[in-house]
Every structure is written in C-alpha cells, then in structure tokens.
C-alpha cells in the first residue's frame, strides 16, 4: 500500500518538476483534493469507530444510555443523510425537504437502537481491521469479527469522502449489504403505513 502512495507522490513531483514551478504548484493544488482520502485514513476511521464501539460496550452503562452513545458514534462516523436516503429508496424523491429532515432524524435513532441491541452480542468479542484497499470510487476496509464461541466472520466497511467528510456509508457482513437490507426493511414499514412518510417517521420513532 505504501509503495502505491510513494509512486503517486513521485509521479506528481516529476510532473511538477517538468511543468515548471508555478504550474506545478497549480497542478498539486488541483490534484490533491481528488484523492484527499487515503487508504490509511479510511483504515484509521474504522479503527477509531471500532474503538469507540468497544468503549461503549464495555462502559457498563444502561442499555438506554448505550443507545445514545451509539447514535453519537453513528452520526460521527457514518454518512447518515446518504444512508437514510438510500434506505428510503424511490420514495425519497417524492418527499419534501421537511419530510426528509424528519425521516433522517428518526432513522438515525431507529438504526442506533436496532444495531445497538445487536452490538450487545459483541461483548467479549472483537473486531480487527485486517486490510484496506481502494474499491470503485471509495475504499473498502476489511475486518474480521470474532464473537465468543463462533467462527470468525467477514465484516467490510465502505468509506468515502463524497459528503465532504471521511465517513462510512455501507457495511457488508459475510456478503450481506446493509443498504439493501435497510431498503427492504424501511420499504416494508412504509408499505404498512400506506406509503405515508409522516406515518413512517412516527413508526420509526416508536421502535
């Protein structure tokens, strides 16, 4: 991975040198933001996220307090707006700005409680980042989760910076895509509420 970074840097330097100082500086200024997020940064993001989750799990707080912590972690490390819009699917195109804001807020609490309940199963277990690589237009951070008495399983985090910040926007557990699963679930709740987004928001807030 480091070799790759060095090569990029060298190419940049050589081109900058060839093109003259002024244009070289211009080229650098233009080129750097394109790959603002590096594979190491993507990896660090997931490492920090896992550390925060572990700290919450081992904090000995009440479940309710943990849900609050998980929501804070989710907001800090995940592109909540993008995940929420993807979960809502085609209905997000018909929703008003106010509805989208209310839905995103409700969804953020809902997902924190839902996954928060599941993360409690991680007590005594561990997640280790094993690799990170560029993937499509973002990065895939690969980790192995080992829960007590179970065979280790594959957990992947998709990290990008298209929101303007370095954030994860999808988790793949043994091939199962969180965004796809979320869209199925939110779609089903929306159907149960006759396609009414306001009722969907109320339903999410009640979970």
């Amino acid at each position: 991975m480091r070799i790759k970074t060095d090569t990029t840097a060298m190419t940049l330097t050589r081109r900058a040198f060839g093109a003259g100082l002024a244009s070289g500086a211009g080229f650098l200024a233009f080129a750097l933001p394109v790959r603002a997020l590096t594979v190491d940064q993507a990896r660090q993001l997931v490492d920090k996220l896992i550390a925060d989750i572990n700290a919450t799990i081992n904090s000995g707080k009440s479940e309710q307090a943990m849900f609050g912590d998980f929501e804070q972690i989710f907001v800090t490390y995940a592109d909540v707006a993008t995940i929420a819009r993807s979960a809502l699917g085609p209905a997000s195109k018909q929703a008003s700005a106010g509805q989208m804001a209310a839905f995103t807020k409700a969804y953020q609490g809902y997902i924190s409680r839902k996954y928060g309940r599941r993360f409690r199963e991680f007590i005594g277990g561990k997640i280790e980042v094993t690799d990170a690589r560029p993937y499509k237009s973002y990065y895939e951070v690969i980790s192995t989760a080992t829960l007590q008495g179970e065979a280790p399983f594959d957990l992947r985090w998709w990290v990008g910076d298209k929101s303007g910040r370095n954030l994860f926007f999808n988790i793949i557990i043994e091939g199962v895509n969180m965004l796809a699963s979320e869209r199925t679930e939110i779609g089903a709740i929306l159907d149960k509420n006759g396609g009414d987004i306001d009722k969907l928001v109320a339903a999410l807030n009640m979970t």
């Binding site: 599941r118 008495g149 043994e174 091939g175 796809a180 199925t184 679930e185």
Partner: protein, 251 residues
C-alpha cells in the same frame, strides 16, 4: 432459458421443484451466469410456505431450541453440532472433487480423518486448531461450478430459504450422502437425529439473530430472502452487489 421454458409455463407455474428439474435438464454447461437482484416468480407460494415455517418455528423449533440451549451446557450443544458437521464431510469431499477443487478436497478429507479419530467420532474438533477448518460446500455449489444459474428463489417447507438450483442440490446431497456407506443400515437414524438436533442447537445459539430476522422485521420473508441470496452468492464467490447500492452518491 426463458424461451425454452415458456411452452412449459403451466407446469412451471404449478411446481417450482418441477421447474427446477426442467431447468436443470435443459441447461447447457457453461460459465455460471452471475446472478443479480431478486428473481421470485413464486412469491405467493413462497410466502405461504414462510407462514408455515414461521408457525413451526414459533410453536416447535424455537421453544425446543431455547430450552435445549438453556438446559444443556454449551460444550454439549457444540459437540452435537461438531458430530453432525463431521458426518457432512464425506459428501463435501465428493462435491469438492466434482468441482475439481483438489485443495479443499484434501483439507476436508484430513479434517474428517482427524476429527473422526482424535476428535472421538467427530464430537470434538481438533482439526480446526490444527488449521484445517471446514471448507463448506454442497451439490448446489457443484451445479453452480458446472454452469447452472441459480434460478428462482424458493422457500422450502421445514428447510427454509433456497433457490431452484440449491433445492436440487439439497435433495441430491440428502439422497446420495456417501456417509451412508460408512454407517450400518440400522444405525442411520443416529445420523438423521444428529442433523436435526444440530439444526435445533444452531437455532438456539443464534436465537437473537434469527428472531430479529423472523419476528422483528417488518417483512421477515423479504429480509430472509435477501440475506439468503446475498450470503449464498458471497459464499459461491459471486459478489455482485446491486449497482444502486454500490454507489449511493451517484444519482
């Protein structure tokens, strides 16, 4: 495939299993088509089967599983699971060979030899500690390697999520299990009982996960279908997530 199946649409509509067999007999060998999305033309029938499976789980399997895992010590439940898993190995070796995968065939053979002897008939799993973890496979995967497409989604009674290809695979694995050659005819019930007990044990051990899919989801059928298809494709090395979930920023 679709073109050939059209004239048979009557029987195809009525019996997914028959359709699976027709699909199997009509299929030509070639590279497997990479599956994408969800193909569920039997959804109505599948949902009815799901309701049946759900009742079976609610009233029989779930209470039994939760009680068993509460009463029995964890090593006992693990031992039953190991024992049943060991009996699956000869069948896996045959499938590895049918897929021309020599490495996994050797690993599973070694595993069977070690666990059947040092592991006391497969109750213990010393092979995993020695670095020979199970390389799971089945006849459904063999069919996939041979170029058969996964076909439509099916939920099988008692068994749960599957596809037309995997349903045929499951049936073949069940009928042509080579482990039967090692076991005297009057002792085969032990193997059947172990398989059922292991499944109940798994239901108990993964209770929270299974409950969250079956009972806490707004549409447990759709969730189970998605999880099965994505996980199955991942295990067969066909990782093609839906393009719209590949990049949620592109729109």
């Amino acid at each position: 495939m679709t073109i050939y199946l059209r004239p048979l649409s009557l029987s195809w509509q009525k019996s997914p299993m028959l359709a699976a067999l027709v699909a199997l007999s009509l299929s030509a060998c070639g590279p497997a088509i990479v599956p994408q999305g969800i193909d569920d033309p039997f959804e109505k029938q599948n949902r009815a089967t799901h309701e049946l499976n759900l009742k079976l789980d609610t009233y029989v399997v779930r209470p039994l599983a939760n009680r068993a895992t509460r009463i029995l010590p964890e090593p006992v439940v693990q031992g039953v699971s190991n024992f049943a898993g060991n009996l699956d190995l000869p069948g896996m070796v045959v499938n590895d060979l049918l897929q021309a995968k020599v490495g996994p065939a050797l690993q599973n053979t070694l595993r069977f030899a070690v666990n059947s002897t040092i592991g006391i008939g497969g109750v213990l799993d010393p092979a995993s500690q020695m670095g020979a973890a199970a390389k799971d496979t089945d006849f459904g995967e063999t069919l996939s390697v041979w170029g058969l497409a996964e076909g439509a989604y099916l939920e099988l009674p008692f068994y749960g999520p599957s596809t037309q290809r995997d349903a045929v695979g499951t049936a073949v694995d069940l009928v042509f299990d080579p482990t039967r050659l090692f076991i005297p005819k009057n002792k085969r019930w032990v193997s059947t009982l172990a398989q059922v007990a292991a499944r109940i044990g798994d239901r108990g051990r993964y209770s929270e996960t299974v409950d969250s899919i079956l009972y806490d989801s707004a549409d447990g059928y759709a969730q189970a279908r998605l999880l099965y298809l994505e996980n199955r494709r991942h295990n067969l090395g066909q990782t093609t997530a839906d393009s719209e979930f590949e990049d949620p920023y592109a729109h």
